[in-house]
């Protein structure tokens, strides 16, 4: 049996709030294989985002171990974590987090700035990713000239540009209406079909239906881990 892509063992996260300690994660263990499409669900404050931030190396666990692709990330320093985020992980945020007054193309190029990819390859790479998300004709547009759904697709192209092992999306449809949300989910479906590992956090059961596996959190603990025998498939509507 191959080693899983992600392996979490008894991960805990505690926040110090003045005198009080808040346990955001109370000992979570899980493993995710390469190529899986996983939804993380749970009520507000259950620790979903905290878990995602640990998986994405944006934050480090207070206790326990997390290994990505065989590397124990709890032992790494800031620069090494930055390199992992750059090469292995693509982030998609609820609020898109695009650089304002910067073209879609330059936004997509951002992770390449911090990679080893030679500069002359940047435009092709970014263009390819924008085409993949259906924005081949909007490359010069600034975020303010794009709809919410289009902005989120630029963000997905940015997550793809360094060919990461996994895509982490924290409520990617949270700021979108139902129809554009469906479009974005269709895009994730396509990426999954191409073999990408996708982990997304959502509140909405109909979004989670797209995933092949659902992890449910409650009060900082993993309470359910279910397989979805017949995941939903959506067609992308036109741009």
């Amino acid at each position: 049996m191959p080693k899983p892509l992600i392996e979490v063992r008894d991960a805990k996260k505690v926040y110090q709030m003045g005198e009080e300690k808040v346990w955001a994660l109370k000992g979570v263990s899980l493993s995710i294989e390469q190529g899986e499409f996983v939804a993380i669900m749970g009520s507000s404050g259950s620790g979903k985002s905290t878990m995602m931030n640990l998986l994405g190396c944006l934050d480090v666990a207070s206790e326990g171990n997390i290994s990505l692709d065989g590397v124990d990330v709890s032992q790494l320093n800031k620069s090494e974590l930055a390199a992992i985020r750059n090469r292995r992980i693509g982030f998609v945020f609820q609020q898109f987090n695009l650089l304002p007054r910067t073209s879609a193309l330059d936004n997509v190029c951002l992770p390449l700035l911090y990679s080893d990819v030679p500069e002359n390859e940047w435009p092709q790479r970014a263009e390819k990713c924008l085409q993949q998300v259906g924005l081949g004709t909007r490359m010069d547009h600034h975020p303010s000239q794009l709809s919410g759904g289009q902005q989120q697709r630029v963000a997905i192209a940015r997550a793809l540009v360094n060919q990461p092992l996994m895509i982490l999306a924290d409520e990617p449809t949270g700021a979108l209406d139902t129809q554009t949300g469906m479009d974005v989910m269709a895009l994730f479906g396509e990426l999954h079909a191409e073999g990408k590992t996708i982990i997304l956090v959502t509140h909405e059961p109909e979004i989670a239906e797209f995933a092949h596996r659902t992890l449910t959190f409650r009060d900082g603990e993993l309470v359910a881990d279910e397989r979805n025998a017949s995941p939903r498939i959506a067609q992308r509507s036109s741009v």
Binding site: D59, S79, A82, R85, N86, F91, T102, L113, Y114
Partner: protein
């Protein structure tokens, strides 16, 4: 991350807030241009002084009478030196080229219905030798005119312009105070002297004419003069000549060994040099004040960079999320601050050049001589300010935790 990309990123970021970037640079712009202008003005003044010393022949003394002292105390009695002293100095002090006696006064000069108030100097022809006066038109006085105290005049260019305009004054009769003189010569233009006085605003008459008609004859010292101008040959030891003149005059006036000199000897180039030194000190002081304004500009940069880091916390978080290391972030903000200061310095240099150019060519502002060394020094200094005052904000940015920065509202 490559340097070129860092610079491009920095310029893009600064362009987004172009007005603020410019206002931030203003401190550096003013500081750099002020430093360069101050130093240029200092150098320009120095050059002017050098030219003035050169135009005076470089080795000229003034000798004038002073109070006689008796028993260590000054008396009210003014000793006047006379024409014979001039002859004595010229003949007996080795190294002296010429010694020219002067009687000076001033008054109205009238030609036709025009009148002009000017300096009236009584001289003999030796003055032309001592002061390097050139005759532009006409001639010097003749020996006969000097000895007889003839009513003839040589006029400065300013007087020429004021009274005669463009017409030829030679042979014309004009009125000096209450007598008529004939103009026999016009002096070549000389410009301003070290005090900024117009050297061309003058007329020359034979010394005897001035004495008889204007200042009056001192019965106890009938050949007295206001001062003697002495020129030495090039390369002579000025201090030695001064000492020789002093001894000669003391002997001639029979001054007791313990009494002060009843006359004064001034070395003109030394006087100018002393004044130049004072000016130099003043200019250096101003340049330092300007440097302080550079530092103040640097603090302004630091302030804005801190604001910018706070404003762009989410951007920093995003960059970190997609792979920027703390060093990457540190460099980004440091380069931004260096670009800000460097651009400010560059604009400052341009302004300084413009200012000095206008000063030199059109008399707007102040003229001077720009030292390229100072230009590079102040450019380097402003880049250094960029590093120094940009470091702390950049460090703060680099030390942010990615997750906190991303969440920052």
């Amino acid at each position: 991350m490559k340097l070129l990309i860092l610079f491009r990123t920095a310029i893009t970021a600064l362009r987004v807030n172009i007005l603020r970037s410019f206002l931030t640079m203003l401190g550096i712009i003013i500081g750099v241009s002020a430093v360069i202008i101050m130093v240029a003005m200092g150098a320009g003044a120095q050059q002017q002084v050098d030219n003035q010393i050169k135009s005076l022949g470089g080795n000229v003394f003034f000798v004038m009478g002073s109070f006689r002292s008796s028993g260590g105390a000054r008396t009210a009695q003014v000793v006047r030196i006379n024409e014979d002293d001039a002859g004595l100095i010229e003949r007996q002090v080795p190294g002296v080229e010429a010694a020219a006696p002067y009687l000076s006064s001033n008054g109205q000069v009238i030609y036709g219905n025009l009148n002009w108030s000017t300096g009236i100097n009584g001289i003999d022809n030796r003055s032309f030798q001592v002061r390097d006066w050139e005759i532009a038109d006409g001639r010097e006085f003749t020996q006969q005119e000097i000895q007889s105290g003839a009513k003839v005049a040589i006029i400065g260019e300013r007087v020429h312009k004021e009274l005669f305009g463009i017409s030829n004054p030679i042979g014309q009769t004009m009125r000096v105070k209450n007598f008529n003189v004939t103009v026999v010569g016009v002096l070549a233009e000389k410009g301003q002297d070290a005090r900024g006085e117009d050297q061309d605003d003058v007329i020359f008459l034979p010394i005897k004419t001035v004495r008889n008609k204007i200042t009056g004859v001192d019965s106890t010292n009938p050949k007295s003069v206001r001062f003697i101008q002495v020129s030495a040959y090039d390369g002579e030891d000025m201090d030695y000549i001064e000492e020789q003149m002093r001894e000669l005059l003391r002997q001639r006036m029979r001054v007791p060994a313990n009494a002060d000199d009843p006359f004064r000897i001034r070395n003109v180039s030394e006087m100018i040099a002393t004044r130049a030194e004072t000016m130099q000190v003043f200019n250096t002081l101003l340049a330092w004040v300007a440097s302080v304004s550079l530092v103040v500009g640097g603090i302004g940069i630091m302030n804005i960079m801190l604001v910018s880091v706070t404003e762009r916390t989410r951007e920093i978080g995003l960059r970190m999320a997609v792979g920027a290391t703390p060093i990457d972030i540190l460099r980004q903000f440091l380069i931004e601050s260096i670009v800000l200061c460097g651009a400010g310095g560059g604009i400052g240099v341009l302004i300084a050049y413009l200012f000095v150019f206008l000063g030199n060519n059109y008399g707007i502002g102040a003229g001077g001589v720009i030292d390229t060394q100072v230009v590079f020094l102040s450019l380097g200094f402003s880049a250094l300010i960029g590093v120094f005052f940009g470091y702390y904000p950049a460090l703060k940015a680099s030390q942010l935790e990615p997750i906190d920065a991303l969440r920052y509202e």
